[in-house]
């Protein structure tokens, strides 16, 4: 890595001298869906451990503020605009319009189906789209696109992080409680894959429903759901979160709860206090009036990616910036201790995940001892050889 990095550094170092004359503006647009159910006020209210705390646009804004100084110093102004649409069609049209105006970098905060549709419609255009909130593995697999990058961790990464933790605790036998939604099935599938990968046993898989109906009590009552089986830990696969929050302490056995409640694998948690995290948390809290959560981090990271690449390439043409972002040289600082960059086989940002409770970070994955031949971060999620992505 030495020689090339050094060349880029030298180039960047010369810039301040030349700066001031050029008044280039690098625009970043943030796309979101009007009335996105994930940010429904009542849902945000109960602060599920695996749920957002607000719209991730706040994270993008904080990253933009951080870029002010470096921008001024190299003679580039970074700008951020917010675009809301009713559906994938509206967002696609907005992107097409902005792209004609010269906007090359887009953040998309939407559910997987919308992300997939927008990304498909924009194939071949000169732009990059950063997925900041959809964890679905399919977006990184069969639906992958060369211009679609993911700063949000995938279901597979989250499940692997959790599985590593369970293995490290020797909690090898898992009771899997799965909700009725298609997204719950995706969570369960991801965990089944992780269990196989790291040698955990799924003692039993049971379906739950969020209901007080006495005719459905076998599926609605946590005590009944957790009875009559032997296991070390309960894993709740509940994308909605409302059932999951009632699981801890209601089981018949004294077993920890993980997955969508209890202990969750996440891109970020406000209780993380190493590698400059307190300063970042404070900036977001000051700016947004609330704590920072995983989607905020992902949006922050996407804007930081663009800024880093523009700075290191001395605001080179799009093709060079895009190549730098996807290349080996890029060093992204996610405030999680490791050098981050994108996996060339599926454009997923490799990153440590935080295993957190409601007010503490218990561990950081990859857990010590889980090794990979190239980069230990690749023990989380789909590795090159099992990636289903063909660009």
């Amino acid at each position: 890595m030495g020689a090339r990095l050094w060349a880029v550094l030298a180039l960047a170092a010369l810039l301040p001298v030349a700066a001031g004359a050029a008044g280039a503006t690098v625009r970043v647009a943030h796309l979101e869906i009007v009335g996105d159910a994930r940010y429904d006020a009542t849902r945000l209210e109960f602060r599920g451990l695996a749920l957002p705390l607000g719209r991730p646009y706040a994270g993008a804004e904080v990253a933009l503020r951080e870029a002010r100084f470096v921008g001024k110093a190299i003679g580039v102004e970074f700008a951020l605009e917010r675009v809301a649409g009713a559906d994938a069609g509206e967002l696609t049209a907005a992107v097409a319009r902005l792209n004609e105006e010269g906007v090359r970098y887009f953040l998309i905060d939407a559910e997987a189906a919308v992300v997939a549709e927008v990304a498909r419609a924009l194939r071949g255009r000169e732009l990059l789209l950063f997925n900041v909130s959809a964890p679905d593995d399919a977006l990184r697999g069969a639906q992958c696109q060369p211009h679609l990058l993911h700063t949000a961790p995938s279901h597979a990464m989250q499940a692997d992080a959790l599985a590593q933790y369970l293995v490290s605790k020797k909690w090898r036998s898992v009771l899997l409680l799965q909700g009725p939604l298609p997204e719950d099935a995706l969570l369960a599938q991801a965990f089944e894959r992780a269990a196989k990968r790291f040698g955990l046993k799924i003692a039993e898989r049971r379906a739950f429903v969020l209901s007080n109906d006495p005719r459905q009590r076998e599926q609605g009552n946590v005590a009944l759901l957790t009875a009559g089986a032997e296991y070390d830990v309960v894993l709740v696969a509940d994308s909605d979160g409302e059932f999951a929050r009632g699981v801890p302490y209601r089981g018949v056995l004294a077993r920890p709860v993980v997955g969508s409640e209890g202990l969750v694998a996440s891109a970020w948690h406000w209780a993380w206090e190493r590698h400059g995290a307190p300063q970042l948390n404070a900036r977001v809290e000051k700016h947004a009036g609330r704590k920072m959560a995983a989607p905020d981090w992902a949006a922050w990271m996407a804007v930081k990616t663009v800024v880093e690449a523009v700075v290191r390439t001395a605001n080179a043409p799009f093709a060079a910036v895009s190549a730098y972002i996807k290349g080996d040289e890029i060093t992204l600082d996610g405030f999680k201790g490791n050098r981050l960059g994108y996996r060339p086989w599926n454009n997923q940002l490799r990153q440590p995940l935080l295993l957190a409770t409601h007010n503490a970070v218990i561990e950081r994955a990859p857990i010590d001892g889980f090794l990979h031949q190239h980069n230990n971060l690749d023990t989380l999620g789909y590795d090159q050889r099992d990636s289903g992505c063909a660009f």
Binding site: A12, A13, F69, V70, G276, R339
Partner: protein
């Protein structure tokens, strides 16, 4: 220079009444972020002599020019505490703005230059009056701050902007912003000021700036055995007085690199404790003291044999070390 020092001496003595000159006490001072205290060790027996309570989260430390006082920055309390070395007592505190982490002290002892992480500024504090003389806006999360040997230039890192700011200490204007390796942390400067070495924690390197024209002129990378490039996270750096040798602490790689400054060659790697950050040399430079933030101890290295002589337990999450021998 002389009259200046005399004046400062008088002033300091007047302020810290009863302060006696304590030169070469043999004490080793270690700040502990989670104990809110400075641990004082006897440099011979390595026994704890005293634990001095400071403000919350003490981090960087520096001796006064006369070496009779120790300045300790307390991040959570936004102040620099002054410890009288002869009495081992906290005598006064200077407010230095929100969330300070590192600082430097002018050679005449009159000015403190403090980085305020959350406000993205450098505060210039007049030591005698304890007031803010100037505030300089810099990139987000400024950390390392170091005066050049002639005191005319101030170098500051911004961890988030990945830059070194070069500041004129007379006008407080930024003369240059230099893009360096990622997450730049701390400095060492050659005695002639010709080379400014800055550690880049995530870049895994030391970036070398040309002190005359403020451009990047080289880099040093590290490959300790058994560690991957991504585990090499250089943070602390200290240079011998003759500017010939630099010691760079490699953070997660748990090693200290010994670098020949002229050739930029890594001559040795010394295994120390967990997350080695802070480092300091004793007066005759026979010993290097390394602070291991995650194993709550310091490693004492013999600089001649380049071997660790012993490790000494200190307070929780130690940050910096200063030797008064």
């Amino acid at each position: 220079m002389k009259p200046n020092i005399a004046a400062t001496l008088l002033l300091t003595t007047a302020l810290a009444s009863g302060a006696a000159y304590a030169k070469g006490t043999g004490y080793v001072f270690v700040s502990s972020e989670k104990d809110h205290a400075v641990t004082v060790l006897d440099g011979k027996s390595w026994q704890v002599v005293k634990t001095i309570a400071t403000g919350e989260r003490p981090r960087d430390m520096r001796l006064s020019p006369e070496r009779n006082e120790l300045y300790v920055v307390s991040s959570e309390d936004g102040r620099v505490d002054v410890i009288d070395i002869a009495q081992l007592k906290l005598t006064r505190s200077l407010p230095v703005g929100e969330d300070p982490e590192m600082f430097d002290l002018s050679a005449d002892g009159k000015r403190l230059y403090v980085t305020n992480e959350e406000d993205a500024q450098v505060s210039v504090i007049d030591v005698a009056s304890g007031t803010l003389a100037a505030a300089i806006e810099v990139g987000e999360e400024p950390e390392g701050v170091r005066l050049g040997p002639d005191g005319r230039r101030l170098y500051v890192t911004s961890e988030v902007a990945n830059m070194v700011h070069v500041i004129d200490t007379a006008s407080h204007e930024i003369l240059a912003n230099v893009v360096v390796g990622n997450r730049p942390r701390r400095f060492a400067i050659t005695p002639d000021g010709a080379e400014v070495w800055v550690t880049a924690e995530l870049g895994g390197q030391v970036t070398i700036l040309d002190g005359a024209n403020n451009t990047v002129k080289g880099a040093v990378t590290f490959t300790p055995k058994g560690f991957r490039a991504d585990d090499v996270t250089p943070v602390g750096i200290v240079m011998t007085r003759d500017g010939r040798t630099a010691y760079v602490t490699l953070g997660r790689a748990n090693h200290v690199a010994v670098v020949d400054v002229a050739s930029r060659k890594v001559e040795a790697m010394i295994l120390v404790g967990k997350r080695a950050w802070g480092a300091a040399l004793n007066r005759d430079e026979s010993r290097l003291l390394v602070v291991n933030g995650l194993s709550d101890d310091i490693s004492i290295v013999d600089t001649k044999s380049r071997k660790v002589l012993r490790s000494v337990p200190v307070g929780r999450v130690p940050h910096s070390v200063v030797v008064d021998d």
